[in-house]
C-alpha cells in the first residue's frame, strides 16, 4: 500500500487527543464526601460497567474517526494495479482488432484469427468487447457490448478481403471506440499476421493512449515461398501494320528464390513467356506482337500459387492525332507544321486530322487517341468538359499556345491539373536574349531517346516568348527553359494525361519547328500518349474515374454489375475495386475496360517482429520489458485515481461517525425494580 499525499498522516497525532481527554477526565473526577452510599449503591452495577465500556468504546470510535480522516486525506493506493482481498471483479473494455487484409488469406490465417477472437469472446466474463475488422480501412462490426452472441456473430460474419493493410487506421479506430468505454481498464487486442508492409511511419507521431493496454496475437505460420509480380510496364511500338508489345515485369520472391516462368495469358490461353532468374527481385521481359487493334485484357502469371497480375491495353492500327487549330496565321501556325509532321499517308504511324475549334466535340474527340490544341484562346465550357472527359477517359492531350491565355484557358489548365497560366513572357526583354531549353527529365519516355542518342540538338532551339506557368503541385515539370521557367508540364488525369507545351508548336514564338528534332520530339510525345498501359491497371481500393456526364455500369471480375452515377460535379467515380481481376465499364456505346491488382506491398507476406510492432504502438513505459504484453505506465496519481480507496474510507468514516453519535447520546435503559 502506498500513499499519494503521505504528509496528511501527521494528522494521526490528533488520535492522541481522545485518549488524553479520556484519561484526564478519569483523573479529574470530582471527589465528594457523601453522607452515605446506600442510595448510590443501589444504582445498577451494570450501568456502571456499561458506562465504562461505553466510554472506552466512544474513545475508540473517536480515535478511529481521526485515523480514517488522516488516511483518507493521505490518499492510499495499491501499487501493481491489483488490490488483494479488496479487488472487486474489475471489468475490462476491450477492442478486438481482426486483420482481414489479403495477406490473411494465406495459410489459413484468417480462420485462425477468427477462432482466437471467438475464444476471447467466450472468456469475456462480463467484460465489454468491440469487434473491428481492418485492412486498409477499419470497420466497426460490433460496438462495445457484453452480449457474446452479438460479438460472435460479428466475428463469424467477417471475411478476408483483397485489400492492403493499415495498422495505424485500425489502432486509431480502436482508440476512438474506447473513448466511450464503460470501464477504466481498457485493452486493445490485435489479431493479425503482422505483415511488415502494413506498418507506416504514422506511428512515429501517434501512440496508443496511456492506460490502454495492447495484447498481440500473431496468427499464421510464416509462408516459406512466395512469388509475385510487383509491377509491370507495357510499351507499345507501332511497326507498320503491327504493334510490338514489350512487357517489363519486376518479380519478387520471398523465401527461397528459384527460377520461374512469367507468362502472359489472355482468355485462358498463354501468349508469351519469359524466364525469371532465381533472385529476390528480378526483371523479366515478354515481347509479343499484336496484329489487330482492340482493347485487350490479359494477366501475367507465375504459376498457380502466385496471384496473377492483371492488365488492360489497347492496340490501335493507326492512332489518330486530332489537331484543333485555333491559330489565325497560316504559315507560322502550329497546324501548318503539325500537318507536315503527322500527315504522311496510310502507312504513317499516325492518322492526322485537323479541325477548327468550333468543331471540337465529344464525337470528334472519341475517334482520336491524341488531341493537340494549337493556338486556342477561347475554350468554351462545353469544350473544356469534352477535353477533360477525353483525358480522363485515357486520351492524351498536347496543348501548345502562341496567344496570351484567356480566362477559359486558365480554367482548363486548372481543371487538367496543369497549373496556373500567367501572362506571356518575353525572354528578350526579361533576360536580354532568347530562352533555350535548359533542362529535361532524361528518364521521361519523351526524352529518353534524346538522352540515349547523346545529341544536344534539342537544346539549340530558341524561344522568344512563352507562357509563364506556375505548375500545380500534382503536375510534373519534365522540361525547363534555361531561366528555370517550365517548358513542358505533364498532369495525369485518371486514365489519360495532358502535356502543356508553354510555347508555340509553330514559329510565332520559337524556331523549334525548323529544328531537326522537331518531328522526333512530336512523335515521342505522341507515342508516349499511346504507352498508357499503367493507366489501365489499378490497385485494390483505388477509385477509377470514368468519363463524366453519364451513368455507367461496371462489371467486376465475378460478373456482378454495379451502377455508378455522376456526382454533384458531374464526375463519375467507381470505388468498388474490391477484388483483383478485369472490370468493364459501359455507358451506352462507350466501353472502358480496366484491370485491378492487389497492392504489391500486400503481396509481401513477410511479417514484422511482434515485439517490435508492440513498441511501435505503445509509448515507452517502465513496466514489463520482457513480455509482448506490457501495461501502459501508470503514475501513482493514475493508480490512486483508478482505485479511489479514499471513497471507501470516507464511507467508513461516516458510518463510524453516525454510530458514535447515536451511542454518545443514547439514554440508559432503566431497569424496573
Amino acid at each position: 500500500m502506498s500513499l499519494l499525499t503521505p504528509l496528511f498522516l501527521l494528522g494521526l497525532a490528533a488520535v492522541l487527543v481522545p485518549l488524553v481527554l479520556h484519561l484526564i477526565r478519569q483523573v479529574r473526577a470530582q471527589r465528594v464526601v457523601f453522607p452515605s452510599l446506600m442510595h448510590l449503591q443501589r444504582v445498577p452495577e451494570e450501568r456502571v460497567r456499561r458506562r465504562r465500556l461505553k466510554d472506552w468504546l466512544l474513545m475508540a470510535m473517536r480515535m478511529t474517526l481521526l485515523v480514517l480522516l488522516a488516511l483518507a486525506f493521505a490518499r492510499p493506493y495499491w501499487q501493481g494495479g491489483v488490490v488483494p482481498l479488496f479487488q472487486p471483479a474489475e471489468r475490462t473494455s476491450r477492442v478486438l482488432l481482426i486483420d482481414q487484409s489479403h495477406s490473411m488469406q494465406a495459410g489459413g490465417r484468417f480462420a485462425d484469427a477468427q477462432q482466437q477472437a471467438l475464444d476471447l469472446i467466450a472468456a469475456a466474463d462480463g467484460d465489454e468487447l468491440a469487434i473491428i475488422t481492418f485492412d486498409d480501412g477499419a470497420y466497426l462490426q460490433a460496438d462495445l457490448t457484453d452480449d457474446t452472441d452479438v460479438l460472435a456473430q460479428a466475428v463469424r460474419r467477417a471475411v478476408p478481403t483483397f485489400r492492403a493493410t493499415d495498422f495505424f487506421l485500425a489502432m486509431q479506430r480502436a482508440q476512438e471506440v474506447l473513448a466511450s468505454a464503460l470501464h477504466e481498464d481498457q485493452e486493445v487486442v490485435l489479431v493479425s499476421d503482422f505483415q511488415q508492409s502494413g506498418w507506416s511511419s504514422a506511428f512515429d507521431e501517434w501512440k496508443l493512449a496511456d492506460g490502454v493496454r495492447l495484447e498481440t496475437i500473431a496468427v499464421g505460420e510464416a509462408v516459406s515461398d512466395n512469388a509475385f509480380v510487383e509491377e509491370a510496364n507495357l510499351t507499345k511500338t507501332r511497326q507498320g501494320a503491327t504493334t510490338q508489345l514489350r512487357l517489363d515485369a519486376r518479380v519478387v520472391q520471398e523465401g527461397e528464390a528459384q527460377p520461374l516462368t512469367l507468362t502472359t495469358q489472355r482468355d485462358g490461353a498463354a501468349q508469351a513467356s519469359a524466364r525469371v532468374e532465381s533472385s529476390a527481385s528480378a526483371t523479366a521481359t515478354i515481347q509479343q506482337v499484336e496484329e489487330r487493334s482492340g482493347v485487350y485484357q490479359a494477366e501475367l502469371t507465375l504459376g498457380e500459387e502466385a496471384a496473377p497480375w492483371y492488365f488492360t491495353y489497347e492496340v490501335n492500327e493507326q492512332p489518330t492525332v486530332l489537331v484543333v487549330d485555333g491559330s489565325r496565321r497560316i504559315r507560322s501556325s502550329a497546324a501548318f507544321f503539325l500537318q507536315r509532321a503527322f500527315d504522311l499517308g496510310e502507312n504513317a504511324p499516325f492518322r492526322y486530322r485537323q479541325i477548327q475549334p468550333s468543331a471540337l466535340s465529344r464525337s470528334a474527340a472519341r475517334d482520336a487517341e491524341v488531341i493537340i490544341l494549337a493556338g486556342l484562346d477561347n475554350i468554351s465550357a462545353g469544350q473544356q468538359q469534352v477535353l477533360l472527359d477525353f483525358v480522363q477517359g485515357g486520351g492524351s492531350l498536347l496543348w501548345s499556345t502562341d496567344v496570351a491565355p484567356t480566362g477559359s484557358a486558365r480554367g482548363l489548365a486548372q481543371a487538367l491539373g496543369l497549373g496556373t497560366l500567367g501572362g506571356v513572357a518575353d525572354a528578350r526583354q526579361t533576360q536580354g536574349y532568347e530562352a533555350i531549353i535548359g533542362e529535361v527529365d532524361g528518364r521521361h519516355p519523351i526524352f529518353r531517346l534524346f538522352e540515349a542518342s547523346g545529341t544536344g540538338a534539342i537544346f539549340r532551339a530558341k524561344f522568344r516568348q512563352y507562357v509563364a506557368v506556375e505548375a500545380d503541385s500534382s503536375a510534373s515539370v519534365i522540361a525547363r527553359y534555361d531561366n528555370n521557367d517550365p517548358f513542358i508540364i505533364e498532369a495525369r488525369q485518371s486514365l489519360g494525361h495532358a502535356l502543356l507545351f508553354t510555347s508555340s508548336l509553330g514559329t510565332r514564338w520559337t524556331d523549334l519547328p525548323i529544328n531537326e528534332l522537331y518531328i522526333p520530339l512530336l512523335y515521342q510525345m505522341a507515342s508516349y500518349a499511346l504507352d498508357d498501359e499503367a493507366a489501365l491497371a489499378y490497385t485494390i481500393g483505388q477509385p477509377v474515374s470514368l468519363p463524366g456526364g453519364a451513368d455507367w455500369s461496371v462489371r467486376d471480375p465475378e460478373g456482378r454489375v454495379v451502377q455508378v452515377e455522376p456526382d454533384a460535379q458531374g464526375a463519375v467515380w467507381f470505388n468498388a475495386t474490391d477484388r483483383p481481376g478485369h472490370y468493364l465499364a459501359t455507358s451506352g456505346n462507350e466501353r472502358v475496360p480496366f484491370s485491378v491488382n492487389i497492392a504489391p506491398e500486400e503481396l509481401r507476406l513477410a511479417a514484422r517482429d511482434v515485439e517490435e510492432a508492440y513498441a511501435t504502438v505503445v509509448a515507452p513505459t517502465q513496466g514489463d520489458e520482457t513480455g509482448t504484453v506490457q501495461e501502459a505506465a501508470l503514475t501513482p496519481a493514475d493508480l490512486e485515481e483508478r482505485q479511489q480507496f479514499w471513497k471507501w474510507i470516507w464511507l467508513l468514516l461516516i458510518i463510524v461517525f453516525l454510530v458514535e453519535t447515536v451511542l454518545a447520546h443514547r439514554p440508559y435503559a432503566t431497569r424496573s425494580t
Binding site: 473526577a29 471527589r31 453522607p35 452510599l37 448510590l40 444504582v43 456502571v48
Partner: protein, 299 residues
C-alpha cells in the same frame, strides 16, 4: 403564622456562624415566639425542687423573696415539672450527619434545632433531656427543667462531633428502654440506615407510650443530587469510594431517596409518629411550628 418573625429570615448558615448555641437558641426562639399572636402554652405546674443563686438574666418572678429576706441573698427556685411532659431530644451525631453541600452541616443544623427546642421547652419550664447517638448512645442527659440543665445540654451539643457510622436500630432501642417516664421524644436524624430498623426502634419507643416527633434532616444535595459528570463519592462514615457518572446515576438515586423517604414517612404515619423533613438550608421556623403543632396535638 406571622410573617414578621425575625427568625424567619435568619439564614441557618448565619446562625451556624454564631458560636454560642445559647444565644442562637434564644434568638431563634425569642424571635419565633415574638412573632406568634399569642403563646398557646402556659406552662405546667411544677414542684419546687431546689434553690440556686440568682444569676443575671433570670426571671425576677422566680426569686424567692422570703429567702432573700432571711438571707439577704437572692435565690431562685427551680421547679421540677411534675407532669409527664418530658422532652427528650434524641440527636443523631453519626458520621453521615457531618455533611454539608452548603454552609451548614446536617449536624450543625440538628444542633441548632435541638438547642432551639431545648431553649424553647425550658422557657416553658418543661423538662428537656438530650441523647446523642451514633452507633451507640454517646450522651444521655435526663430531662430537667432547670436552666443549668439547659446549659449542660447546650454544652454537650456544642462539644459533640459527628463521626461514627450510623446505627438507627440499637441506639434507639436503648433510648426506648432508658426512658422511665412517658414524654416526648424528638428524634433529629438523617436516618441513613435501613428504614425498617429505624421504624422498629421508633415503634419500640412508641410502645412505651412516648410521643415521637421525627425531624428528618437532609441536605439539599441529598435530596436533589445535582452532581454531574464523573464523581468519586466517598462514604462519610465508611470511607468507601464509588466512582460514578453522577449525571447518569441521578435518576436512580433520586428514585431511591424518594422511596426511602416515603418508607419512613409512611412508617411513621402508621406508628403515629409525626414526621417532618427538614432541609438544612431552610430556616428553623418551620421546625418550631411543627413542634408547636405536635405539642398542641399531643398535649
Amino acid at each position: 403564622m406571622t410573617t414578621s418573625a425575625p427568625t424567619r429570615y435568619i439564614d441557618p448558615a448565619l446562625l451556624a456562624r454564631i458560636g454560642n448555641l445559647e444565644l442562637v437558641a434564644r434568638a431563634v426562639v425569642e424571635g419565633f415566639v415574638a412573632g406568634l399572636h399569642r403563646s398557646p402554652y402556659k406552662g405546667f405546674s411544677v414542684e419546687f425542687m431546689e434553690y440556686r443563686p440568682y444569676m443575671p438574666g433570670d426571671d425576677p418572678m422566680r426569686i424567692d423573696w422570703k429567702l432573700y429576706a432571711r438571707s439577704d441573698r437572692m435565690y431562685v427556685k427551680e421547679f421540677e415539672d411534675e407532669t409527664n411532659t418530658r422532652l427528650r431530644l434524641v440527636v443523631d451525631v453519626s458520621g453521615s450527619m457531618d455533611f454539608a453541600s452548603g454552609d451548614v452541616r446536617k449536624v450543625d443544623y440538628a444542633f441548632l434545632l435541638a438547642a432551639s427546642l431545648a431553649y424553647f421547652v425550658q422557657r416553658q419550664r418543661d423538662a428537656v433531656g438530650l441523647v446523642l447517638f451514633d452507633e451507640a448512645l454517646r450522651v444521655r442527659i435526663p430531662p430537667r427543667s432547670t436552666r443549668s440543665h439547659l446549659q449542660q445540654i447546650l454544652m454537650h451539643l456544642e462539644e459533640a462531633e459527628a463521626g461514627a457510622p450510623t446505627q438507627m436500630g440499637k441506639p434507639l432501642h436503648d433510648v426506648a428502654e432508658a426512658l422511665k417516664h412517658r414524654g416526648f421524644v424528638i428524634l433529629i436524624s438523617d436516618a441513613l440506615d435501613d428504614p425498617q430498623k429505624t421504624l422498629d426502634a421508633l415503634q419500640h419507643i412508641r410502645y412505651y407510650g412516648h410521643q415521637v416527633l421525627f425531624f428528618h434532616v437532609m441536605d439539599r444535595q441529598e435530596l436533589e443530587f445535582t452532581y454531574d459528570g464523573p464523581v468519586e463519592f466517598e462514604d462519610a462514615e465508611t470511607g468507601e469510594i464509588m466512582l460514578l457518572d453522577a449525571g447518569a446515576a441521578a435518576t436512580q438515586y433520586k428514585a431511591n431517596v424518594t422511596q426511602f423517604i416515603d418508607d419512613l414517612e409512611r412508617g411513621c404515619t402508621q406508628l403515629g409518629i409525626d414526621y417532618t423533613r427538614l432541609i438544612t438550608d431552610e430556616p428553623l421556623d418551620r421546625a418550631l411550628f411543627d413542634f408547636l403543632a405536635f405539642r398542641a396535638g399531643k398535649g
